[in-house]
């Protein structure tokens, strides 16, 4: 059963100029993206910065409007809504099913509220009675492995990792159907990051959490996600089960991303040939396959004809003209 089904999602930002602020172009930040998240599943969204990852997650949370496409969400069994077209008024009661974990544990907590109140806030807003709130806060603190005494302290008394735990507790307060986490561990030190990754793995097991995990660290992603969606200039280029994607990528961009990660092993030094060039500008994406100017395998067709995402084997989707013939290098 899918919690979320996104089809052909587009989000274009108009570029305005001149006295009349006329539209002179469009940033195609998200330009026809489709994927789903099954119940209890974590899907990672990866790609270089500017590829559109944050825009996708903001569309799902309706932190911004959607240009076109559908975002079908199942808040409860037997009920389905299209977040892309739902009026704001009907969105409000859905918020509790759709929660967010932020990147910056410093900016996302109100410094003037006690931790207990921060975690209880969503409960209060949704009319949970005070006595029940108390009990739930204690339960949540235990869940994220913070002491009960944390309740009466203010955020500044906590380290970055502890604040991230508080943010996670708040996100989980109402048993959300889907959690959207945009770079939730990238601001943390390695030792703290390891603790939070383990916590998220525990929560996945205990709560059968469904999660969209936006990240750029491919190491973190391999630990946490069941499947991975790779984005490039507003489009999906590959969607695959995690292990398969790392072992045998089917899109040249996925191969390039994996090759760029420095392995923590000096014996493997110098084996990588980094991909050249930079991410294309989504206001002026190259014709054909947007990756072709950087792709070592590009042929004439790639320069003129845009490839579509197609299923190359069960559960594996790739958008590349040469997907069937190329044999690309993965990382064991």
């Amino acid at each position: 059963m899918n919690v979320l089904e996104v089809s052909d999602l587009k989000k274009h930002f108009p570029i305005r100029a001149g006295l009349l602020q006329r539209e002179v172009g469009r940033v195609r930040a998200v330009d026809g993206v489709s994927f789903h998240i099954a119940e209890g599943e974590t899907l990672a969204l990866v790609g270089e910065s500017g590829c559109g990852k944050t825009t996708v997650s903001r569309c799902i949370l309706r932190a911004q409007s959607v240009t076109s496409g559908a975002i079908r969400f199942r808040p409860e069994d037997g009920r389905e809504v299209d977040l892309a077209t739902l009026p704001k008024r009907e969105l409000r009661p859905l918020r509790r099913h759709l929660q967010m974990i932020f990147q910056d544990p410093y900016a996302s907590l109100n410094p003037r509220m006690m931790v207990g109140d921060i975690i209880a806030e969503p409960l209060k807003v949704n009319g949970v009675p005070a006595a029940e709130r108390q009990a739930r806060v204690l339960e949540l603190l235990e869940l994220v492995q913070l002491p009960a005494s944390a309740r009466t302290r203010f955020p500044h008394a906590f380290s970055g990792g502890q604040r991230q735990r508080i943010g996670i507790a708040r996100a989980l307060a109402l048993h959300p159907r889907l959690v959207v986490a945009d770079e939730p561990v990238s601001a943390l030190d390695v030792s703290v990051q390891a603790q939070i990754i383990n916590l998220l793995l525990d929560l996945q097991d205990r709560l059968s959490l469904s999660m969209l995990f936006v990240a750029h660290d491919l190491g973190v992603v391999r630990h946490i996600s069941d499947r991975v969606a790779v984005m490039y200039v507003g489009r999906m280029v590959e969607v695959a089960p995690t292990d398969a994607l790392y072992r045998s990528p089917r899109h040249p961009y996925t191969e390039a991303l994996l090759a760029a990660v420095p392995a923590p092993d000096p014996a493997r030094r110098g084996r990588r040939i980094p991909v050249t060039g930079e991410v294309a500008d989504p206001a002026r994406p190259p014709p054909g396959c947007a990756f072709h100017p950087r792709c070592p395998y590009a042929v004439e067709r790639c320069r003129t004809e845009q490839p579509n995402l197609g299923e190359v084997e069960p559960g594996r989707w790739v958008s590349c003209h040469r997907a069937k013939e190329l044999s690309l290098a993965g990382v064991a």
């Binding site: 390695v190 390891a194 383990n198 990588r272 980094p274």
Partner: protein, 334 residues
């Protein structure tokens, strides 16, 4: 054969003083940066990596102060200079800064002004250290931009920094650091703000420039992958001290300090099995104002020996290429 030391740090201590008290940001740091080699400095946030870099360039501002130790430039030569003895604003220190020691920042905009073109700023930096006409300096600047891999340097020289992507900006940052032709370069997390793909390009560039120019590179990072890729020798920092130094192969094959071991195990890996848990280090780095007694890692250490670790401070790591750890465990220090 070990290369001679280009820069020797000895017992460096830096303190910040504020209402709450004294923060010992660096508490007896010693290491050698060898000519033409890359020394990787690794450690978690707040352990003193940037303070080390800024102290060497005498860029520590109030309330910070160097309270002890030496920073010796050309320590083996007849004209060794102790940078701690110089006035930070002196002509000599200004010549060292940029002329002998270049600095690359995490965020290249730290080194660049938004008001001037890239070209103006590099030309200015070149002329600060070399007696060249404007036209010659401009030719140099264009050559330098080409060298750091900026396409169409003749055109890009007129660009403003904000018109460039993050990767190109960091290339300009590197060009700025090289403008005075330094033989030592300190790079403080030069790729932390970049994508892995751009990081790979920038690291490759640093490697090439270092080889071509024989630069001694001090590369600060918190990424063990970057260390493995780049360093000849490594210094691991914790709470204002160096807890281990080692040639890079040995650091990864046989780390001697429990903190190094724990850090290496905590790094997420692109080779992980599905849903693989990481081993963690309990707790977090304490605030340096609340430094634990004895070995400052003892409250988080799983291999602690008891009272001794709580009370006594282990000896600093030995100097010399083979390195060692600052730890009481048997075999750690040789």
């Amino acid at each position: 054969m070990a290369e001679p030391s280009a820069l020797s740090i000895r017992d460096l201590a830096v303190q910040f003083r504020n209402e709450q008290g004294v923060i010992r940001a660096l508490d007896g740091v010693s290491f050698d940066l060898r000519a033409g080699q890359t020394l990787g400095i690794v450690g978690e946030s707040g352990c003193g990596k940037s303070v080390t870099a800024r102290s060497i360039l005498r860029l520590i501002d109030r309330p910070g102060r160097i309270t002890g130790g030496q920073i010796l430039l050309d320590p083996a030569g007849p004209q060794a200079i102790d940078l701690t003895a110089l006035d930070p604003d002196s002509r000599q220190m200004q010549q060292v800064r940029g002329g002998r020691i270049g600095l690359i920042f995490q965020e290249p905009m730290t080194a660049l002004s938004v008001h001037y073109t890239v070209g103006n700023q590099i030309i200015e930096a070149i002329r600060q250290h070399r007696d060249l006409s404007k036209a010659d300096a401009k030719a140099q600047a264009i050559a330098l931009l080409g060298e750091v891999g900026i396409p169409h340097p003749q055109r890009r020289i007129d660009a403003y920094p904000f018109e460039l992507s993050g990767g190109l900006r960091q290339r300009v940052g590197i060009a700025m650091a090289l403008a005075g032709n330094p033989d030592i370069v300190i790079a403080d997390e030069p790729t932390t703000a970049l994508d892995v793909t751009t990081q790979a390009q920038i690291l490759g560039l640093l490697q090439r420039l270092q080889r071509e120019k024989g630069i001694a590179l001090m590369l600060i990072t918190h990424d063990m992958g970057v260390i493995a890729e780049m360093a000849d020798e490594v210094a691991v920092m914790y709470l204002g001290r160096i807890v281990e130094t080692a040639p890079v192969e040995r650091l990864f094959a046989a780390p001697r300090h429990p903190y190094t071991r724990a850090l290496l195990r905590a790094v997420p890996s692109i080779l992980a099995t599905p849903r693989q848990r990481l081993s963690t280090i309990g707790g977090a780095v304490p605030h340096p104002g609340l430094r634990p007694t004895g070995c400052s890692f003892h409250p988080r250490c799983t291999e602690m020996l008891g009272e001794r670790c709580r009370r006594e401070i282990p000896a600093s790591v030995p100097l010399g290429v083979s390195g060692g750890a600052s730890c009481f465990l048997p075999g750690a220090s040789e």
